[in-house]
Symmetry: C2
Subunit: 464 residues, 2 copies
């Protein structure tokens, strides 16, 4: 078929009827009788299919036999206003070409309700469903909005390394990378693995955060952001954990904790409103199919100013509440999800940015307050999912940073370069991390993080 | 300093003089006498510094002592038209705050010429140099242009997995990933590594290409693209090889090889012209400092239509040329860089897209031509660097694909899901891969691929 293919999303919104068009896509359903057949065709450009009307007598019954759910076809026909209900336009087929059949006796995606659990097992096919089409389009638009936002701010996309010889947080389970034959590792005289013979000449891991390298970028280019894959070798089989996920980490020179909070709020509101504008149909589909509070939650974030709340004040509010919590409340605890949700959903009824955490529950690199016991960390707390962003102003004073590292008995052998940034032209700076899948969960309203990434990596699963 | 910080790139182009401004950045140089001091300040937003004029008597000589190359400072002052040559505006300082000193006796980046080799050793500091500032800003704008282009085409950013249990090309050196204790691996009764006890329950590697998973996306969403890190465990210590690099792989349903070639040409022209527009100063700096043919090369690509050239015709031209080549020419060879450059730089004098390669030098998944000996692969050949893009129309026929796999004695145990796309609703489709660093090399005019990524990973080097 030589006519230029039109995307269905464009045809559904065109005011320009009564013209010949060509569409190509996958059959969702076919129904009808011996005279007329209706095909719902989807090409992935939108959750909505376009209706193809086929004159069975004219095109021949035989040509329709293999047009079953999942088959791939091309249609030339006339685009007309639809007489039927439920759609605005339809195509009267002149010509049909079959690219690929999908034998109903073996094709797993038939026209019926498939559970999300079942679809997870056939992750290689699930992008062809309406649900995952919606999720993946939203995922795209969120990613695009993130680049657009930071580009507009004048921040530069900075590729921090995936393979690393240092551990960004002084903790965390990491995957090891090697090109040694692990069945038969070369050993040193002491019986240790001889890493001088490994590809990089040392032991290497998959990164758990790009922040420390990101700081190097910020202290040179002013403002940077990362957007790349991050890995955790935690054997947590939960709806909230992935071994491989994507993370966004802006880092900005000359930003203090207040600038950082303002940025986080503005950023989240921008990307969520972008998604609501450009993924309207997809969000509506998910709202109506899975989670009828979804749009409400999104508007909740957009229409409220995020409350700034010191940790100590948060503890006071929780202590004085009459709520029964599973975990006890006292100054020094790491807040649990139940506490965060109480503050956001019941007490303030708006997103909360909590700051000035006890230093003992936060990372070594956070800027120390003068009180000697708190640091300028910040967590952005959302309804339903709790923490969506974690960040801080960074300790820019070389001596204070060294002292804290000593207190924590950390080895900084592999991080001398990080400390050097505080020796050479140090500057106040801040940043935060946003787990991309956490964001996609929030904007799609899905419950399981394995449903918002194309090919989830979890314990015992690296398929496709 | 409570005044809002202005970015130097904005001040250098403002028509709005004689107002108080605040700038923050790193000192490139300071010179002057006992009455007046000139500081060149850079904040990473542009390659150009802004000149700060300091009345030494007014601000006190002592306050200036630690303002040496690399120090980080904040300035409040009056933005005025410059009387000096070489700059349009300058700032008359009212107030200076020192954020961080950079002791000249230890700070490695002094005001002198540093070789690229030396800067590679201090990769953690080199973003602070003019050269790497330019490269990294260009890198950002190219990445942004890529997202912008595909978004406009209606293609969706699709995250293919980094950790994989399959080898995309049936070849290639891969890094292994594990959370086993490799010094003491669990073994099966047969003495093999017991991968059932590894994190994913099987042997896993870092991906060498997202293409195969990308095809799953394209055959559901219509058009997708990937942009993520790719890994090769090849011990090649050359200016063209990295163990970790970034790759862009669009994959589009219903595109044939001609659509694919048109897309590749339009795409490359778009992103290169975007860079020339948004990175004008940076490209000029690199042109004038390292490679005075850079801008010429970029214009060469923009102003010429890319020639479409069948491999067989290319061989004929090479055979009939009077050029002396190191490697012999005959039908069936994989072209060498010298051949590609002859065709591009001497014969056609324009970029070339070569197609219809002998099947034996290309991958199993390329669409087979009717002649039984060629496939619909395509390489885009550029001046100076040779192949910048490699792609193909994919074999969409299940039987032909199976037959080819058998011919090649490939094991497809881990790729049943890939074959399934040809069983269920298969469609003609095409795609290509662009090595991002190869592109950045071309647009920056740099010679060594280690100089166009922030933290290069190469044999024996995973530092920072």
């Amino acid at each position: 078929m030589k006519m230029k293919r039109a995307r269905i999303v464009d045809l559904l919104s065109t005011p320009d009827f009564n013209r010949k068009v060509c569409v190509k896509g996958w059959v969702r359903t076919r129904r009808g009788n011996k005279n007329i057949s209706f095909i719902e065709l989807n090409d992935g450009s939108t959750v909505h299919g376009i209706q193809i009307v086929v004159n069975v007598v004219k095109l021949g019954e035989d040509s329709l036999k293999s047009i079953t759910t999942g088959a791939c076809i091309a249609i030339n026909g006339l685009l007309v206003k639809s007489k039927g209900e439920g759609q605005k336009v339809e195509i009267q087929a002149d010509e049909i070409e079959i690219y690929g059949i999908a034998d109903p006796s073996v094709y797993p995606l038939q026209k019926k309700w498939h559970s999300l659990e079942f679809l997870r097992e056939i992750a290689y096919l699930r992008p062809r469903t309406n649900t995952f089409g919606c999720i993946l389009r939203i995922r795209h638009h969120l990613a695009y909005a993130i680049h657009k936002y930071f580009n507009k701010q004048g921040f530069f996309y900075f590729h921090t390394p995936i393979i690393t010889s240092s551990d960004a947080e002084g903790a965390g389970s990491m995957f090891q990378i090697t090109d040694l034959d692990i069945a038969n590792c070369p050993k040193t005289k002491d019986g240790e693995v001889d890493y001088t013979r490994d590809f990089f000449g040392c032991s290497t891991n998959l990164t758990v955060s790009g922040q420390l390298e990101g700081e190097l970028g910020a202290l040179a280019l002013g403002g940077i952001y990362t957007f790349g894959p991050i890995f955790r070798a935690e054997k947590s089989n939960t709806p909230r954990h992935l071994a491989e996920f994507w993370m966004i980490e802006p880092e900005i020179a000359f930003y203090d904790i207040n600038d950082n909070m303002d940025l986080a709020e503005d950023f989240l509101k921008y990307i969520i409103s972008y998604a609501m504008k450009y993924c309207k149909d997809d969000i509506e589909f998910l709202n109506n199919t899975y989670n009828n509070e979804l749009i409400e939650h999104l508007n909740f974030v957009l229409s409220n100013r995020f409350v700034r709340l010191a940790y100590s004040e948060g503890i006071r509010i929780l202590e004085q509440s009459n709520e029964e919590f599973e975990f006890p409340i006292y100054w020094g605890i790491d807040l649990q999800s139940e506490h965060e949700r109480y503050l956001v959903e019941k007490y303030f009824k708006c997103p909360v940015i909590m700051t000035n955490y006890p230093k003992d529950i936060k990372s070594f690199y956070m800027k120390q307050n003068d009180d000697g016991r708190t640091v300028r960390g910040m967590d952005v707390l959302f309804p339903r999912i709790g923490e969506i962003i974690g960040g801080s102003e960074r300790e820019s004073d070389h001596q204070k940073l060294l002292k804290r590292i000593k207190e924590l008995n950390m080895s900084m052998d592999n991080l001398w370069w990080y400390l050097d940034t505080r020796r050479f032209g140090t500057a106040p700076h801040s940043g935060f991390g946003l787990g991309f899948e956490r964001l996609v969960l929030f904007v799609t309203g899905m419950q399981n993080i394995r449903d918002v990434i194309p090919f989830p990596r979890t314990p015992k699963n690296a398929e496709f």
